[in-house]
C-alpha cells in the first residue's frame, strides 16, 4: 500500500508545483476576479504595515496599488495577503497571490531555481551599522574592537565577519534571537554597534529611548535589492508589473507628479506624452489601457512621491534617498525609457 501511495503523493506534489508555471494569462485571471491579490509582509515599517484605520500602507504596498491602477484604472482594487518569510514563495507559486511585493531580496537562486521572476527594484537595501553619536565614530572602518549586536543565524552575522576580516579589524558579536531583544540590548549599552539591513536600522531606531542620539554609518556592506516578484512563465504579467514600477521611476525623472499630471498630459514634451498615453499605444502592448501610467501617477504617485510618503526624511523613519535617488542625482534608480 505504501509503495502505491508515495509515488501518487509525489506526483501530486510535482503537478502542484509545475502547474502554475505551465498556465499563463494571470492578467485574464486578475481581470476576471476584479482585483490584484498582492502578497505583503506581516508588518515591516514603511514597506508594508497597517495604519490606524487598518489599511495597508508602505512602499511595497504602493507597488501593488500601481499594478492595480495600471490594470483597472483604480488603485484601490487590491487585496492583501500577509505572508511570513517561509510561506511567501509557495504562496506565489501556488497562485494564491498574483504578485509578491514583500521586501524580497533579488538573488540569483531565487530568480532561477525557485521558478520566480524579479521585475525590478523598488528599494536598494543593504546591511548597515548604527552607533551612538557619543562614540564619535563617523565610518565603519573606525569600528576596530567594537562589540556588535545582531540577530543569530542570519546572513547579517556572516556579512559582518567577512567585512571585519577583509578590513583586518577585531570585533565581538553579541547575538540574540529576536529583533526586539537586539534593540533592547543595544539601547541598554550591551554593545557599541547595532547591525541589520539599513531600512531595518531606521525602523528600529524609533524604538530606542533617545533616537536622536544614534546615527547610521554611511558604509553599506551587503547588497539587498528589494523588488516585486511574479511567477515564471507569464511574460505579459511580468511586463505589467515591471513597467508599472518603471513608469513611476520615469515619471519622477520627467518631473511628473500626482499633482501636476493633468497639466503635464496636455503639454508638448513627447517623452511625457508617451508616458501618459497621449501618444503611441504602449499600454495596449502590455494588455492594459493606454492611460495606464497616467492612472498610476494620478492615484499612487511617482517613485519619489511614494518614497517620501512612506520612508522619506519627513516620515518617522527618516530615511534619506541615498542610493535610491534617481541616476541623474547620483543614485541607482534608473528605468529604461518608454518609447
Amino acid at each position: 500500500m505504501k509503495k502505491i501511495i508515495l509515488p501518487v503523493l509525489f506526483g501530486m506534489a510535482a503537478m502542484g508545483v509545475s502547474a502554475p508555471s505551465a498556465s499563463a494569462a494571470t492578467l485574464d485571471d486578475v481581470k476576471a476576479k476584479g482585483f490584484v491579490q498582492c502578497g505583503v509582509s506581516q508588518g515591516l515599517p514603511g514597506f508594508s504595515n497597517t495604519n490606524d484605520a487598518g489599511d495597508w500602507t508602505g512602499i511595497d504596498v504602493d507597488v501593488c496599488r500601481a499594478v492595480a491602477a495600471a490594470v483597472f484604472g483604480d488603485a484601490s482594487l487590491v487585496k492583501y495577503t500577509p505572508l511570513s518569510a517561509k510561506e511567501r514563495f509557495t504562496a506565489l507559486q501556488s497562485g494564491e497571490v498574483d504578485v509578491l511585493s514583500r521586501n524580497t531580496t533579488w538573488t540569483m537562486s531565487r530568480d532561477t531555481s525557485l521558478g520566480l521572476n524579479f521585475t525590478g527594484v523598488n528599494y536598494y537595501d543593504g546591511q548597515g551599522f548604527m552607533v551612538r553619536n557619543s562614540l564619535g565614530v563617523t565610518s565603519a572602518l573606525q569600528l576596530d574592537g567594537a562589540s556588535i549586536c545582531t540577530n543569530t543565524g542570519t546572513t547579517t552575522e556572516l556579512n559582518v565577519a567577512d567585512y571585519f576580516r577583509a578590513n583586518n579589524m577585531d570585533y565581538e558579536v553579541v547575538a540574540f534571537e529576536k529583533a526586539d531583544e537586539v534593540v533592547q540590548a543595544y539601547d541598554s549599552g550591551r554593545c557599541d554597534v547595532y547591525t541589520t539591513d539599513a531600512s531595518g536600522l531606521y525602523a528600529q531606531r524609533l524604538k530606542l529611548t533617545n533616537p536622536g542620539e544614534h546615527s547610521v554609518l554611511p558604509e553599506i556592506i551587503s547588497k539587498e535589492p528589494l523588488g516585486p516578484v511574479v511567477r515564471h512563465g507569464d511574460d505579459q504579467w511580468l511586463d505589467i508589473v515591471k513597467w508599472s514600477l518603471n513608469a513611476m521611476i520615469n515619471a519622477e525623472e520627467m518631473g511628473v507628479t500626482s499633482a501636476n499630471v493633468d497639466d503635464m498630459r496636455n503639454g508638448d514634451n513627447p517623452g511625457i506624452k508617451r508616458l501618459l498615453g497621449t501618444e503611441g499605444a504602449f499600454g495596449e502592448a502590455i494588455g492594459v489601457s493606454n492611460d495606464w501610467a497616467y492612472n498610476i501617477i494620478k492615484q499612487v504617485g511617482n517613485y519619489g512621491e511614494i518614497f517620501e510618503a512612506n520612508v522619506g526624511p519627513d516620515t518617522e523613519l527618516g530615511i534619506s534617498r541615498g542610493v535610491n535617488a534617481l541616476w541623474t542625482n547620483g543614485g541607482l534608480q534608473y528605468a529604461p525609457p518608454i518609447r
Binding site: Q42, T50, T90, S94
Partner: protein, 376 residues
C-alpha cells in the same frame, strides 16, 4: 445540701474573658498564618520583598507614568516612559475586528452580543428554557453567525476572511475548536474503548496521529503544503483550513481526557446497565458519560484553555488573531516607541487573562454544583 459548708456558690456563669490580644484580630491572624514559625516568617518577609520589587514598577508603568491621550508617538514619548495607552486606543478597532470594514462592524457586534447573552444564560443554572437555549446556541447560532460574519446574502456585503482579525479570529477559532472537539472527542474516546476492531483501530490511529504532531506543524502543512497539492485555482479558505486543523487537533486531546474519565467508572456500572437491559448508546448516555464527564471537568477545561491560548499560533500562517493584530500594530512607524511593544503585550495578556480566568472559574462552579460524593 441545706447545711452546706460552702460559703459561696456561683449562680451565674462567669463572663468569658476576651482571648489574649495576640491571638485575635489582625495581629492574631498574622501570628497564626504568617509568622507561626521562623520558616514561615522568612517566607512571609521574602514574599513581601517580592511584591515590593514587582508591583510598584508595574503600577508605575501601567498607571502612574502612562500616557492616556496622544496623537502619535511624539505624545507618548513626551509623556515619560510609562505605557502608551493612546496607542491601544488608536488601534483598538483593529485589535477587536482586525481589518473588518468599519461600516460592517455592527455585524460582528451583533454576533458578540448574541454569543455573550446566550452563553451567560446557558451558564446560569436558574435561567429556564435550557434545552431551547442549548439548541439555539449549538445549531442556530453558528449558522446565524456564519451568515452575519461572512455575508454575501440577504443584502449583506460579503466580507472575506482575510479581512477578519483580532479578537474576532481568536474567538472564532477557539469556539469552533471547543464546540467541535468535545463531541468528536467523546466519540473517539468511546471508539478507542470499543470492542469493534475497525472502530478501535481508526480511533487509535486518529488520536495518536494528531497527538504525535505539533499544532504548529499542522497549521503550517495546511497553509504551505496543501495549496501545492490542490489544482491551481482551487483555493480553500485559509481560515477554514485552520479551523479544521485546530478542531481535529483538539479533538484528539479531548478524546484522551474523556477516556481517562471512562476508565474511572467501575465495571459494576456497565454491568448494572446491562442487567437493566439498556442498549449500548443508552448505557453511555444515561449511565456512563454523565459520571465520566463530570469527573474530567478540570481536564476538559484545561484543554479548552490550552486551545484558547494556542489560537495565537495562527499567526504563522498569516492570520492575525488578537496577539497577531497587536504585533502587527507594532510595525506602524506612527506609534513606534520603546514602550509600544510592552504596552501591546500588557494589553494582550489582560485580554487573554479575562477569557481564560472566566473559563477556569466557571469550571470550578460546575464542579461544585455537580459534585456527588467524589469531592474530598
Amino acid at each position: 445540701m441545706s447545711n452546706s459548708t460552702l460559703s459561696f456558690v456561683r449562680t451565674t456563669m462567669e463572663v468569658a474573658k476576651a482571648p489574649p490580644a495576640s491571638t485575635v484580630g489582625v495581629v492574631g491572624w498574622m501570628r497564626k498564618n504568617l509568622f507561626s514559625s521562623w520558616i514561615n516568617t522568612a517566607l512571609t518577609l521574602f514574599a513581601i520583598y517580592l511584591v515590593w520589587i514587582i508591583v510598584p514598577p508595574i503600577l508605575d508603568f501601567t498607571i502612574f507614568n502612562a500616557t492616556w491621550t496622544a496623537d502619535d508617538r511624539e505624545g507618548c514619548l513626551a509623556g515619560g516612559h510609562g505605557a502608551c495607552w493612546a496607542y491601544v486606543e488608536a488601534k483598538f478597532g483593529q485589535f477587536i475586528y482586525g481589518r473588518y470594514p468599519v461600516e460592517e462592524r455592527w455585524r460582528v457586534n451583533i454576533v458578540f452580543a448574541i454569543m455573550a447573552i446566550g452563553t451567560v444564560t446557558l451558564a446560569i443554572p436558574s435561567v429556564p428554557y435550557k434545552k431551547w437555549n442549548a439548541i439555539f446556541m449549538l445549531v442556530i447560532f453558528p449558522i446565524l453567525a456564519f451568515f452575519l460574519l461572512v455575508g454575501g446574502y440577504f443584502g449583506l456585503h460579503h466580507v472575506e476572511t482575510p479581512l477578519w482579525g483580532g479578537l474576532l479570529v481568536t474567538l472564532v477559532v477557539a469556539i469552533t475548536g471547543i464546540v467541535v472537539s468535545l463531541p468528536l472527542g467523546v466519540l473517539f474516546a468511546l471508539g478507542r474503548r470499543s470492542e469493534m476492531p475497525v472502530v478501535r483501530m481508526v480511533s487509535i490511529i486518529f488520536i495518536e496521529f494528531w497527538r504525535g504532531v505539533p499544532l504548529i506543524t499542522v497549521l503550517f502543512m495546511a497553509s504551505v503544503m496543501l495549496p501545492l497539492f490542490l489544482p491551481e485555482g482551487v483555493t480553500f479558505d485559509k481560515l477554514m483550513r485552520v479551523l479544521i486543523g485546530v478542531a481535529l487537533f483538539s479533538a484528539a486531546y479531548m478524546a484522551e481526557v474523556v477516556r481517562g474519565g471512562l476508565q474511572a467508572i467501575g465495571k459494576g456500572q456497565y454491568e448494572g446497565a446491562q442487567a437493566l437491559g439498556l442498549p449500548y448508546w443508552k448505557t453511555m448516555n444515561l449511565i456512563i458519560l454523565p459520571q465520566a464527564l463530570k469527573l474530567v471537568i478540570p481536564g476538559i477545561v484545561n484543554t479548552f484553555i490550552g486551545l484558547f491560548k494556542d489560537t495565537t499560533l495562527v499567526l504563522i500562517v498569516g492570520l492575525f488573531d488578537l496577539l497577531g493584530a497587536i504585533q502587527l500594530s507594532f510595525t506602524d512607524p506612527k506609534w513606534s516607541t520603546p514602550m509600544t511593544s510592552h504596552t501591546g503585550y500588557v494589553f494582550a495578556a489582560f485580554g487573554f487573562f479575562i477569557f481564560c480566568f472566566s473559563m477556569s472559574r466557571y469550571s470550578i462552579f460546575m464542579e461544585n454544583r455537580l459534585h456527588t460524593g467524589h469531592k474530598r
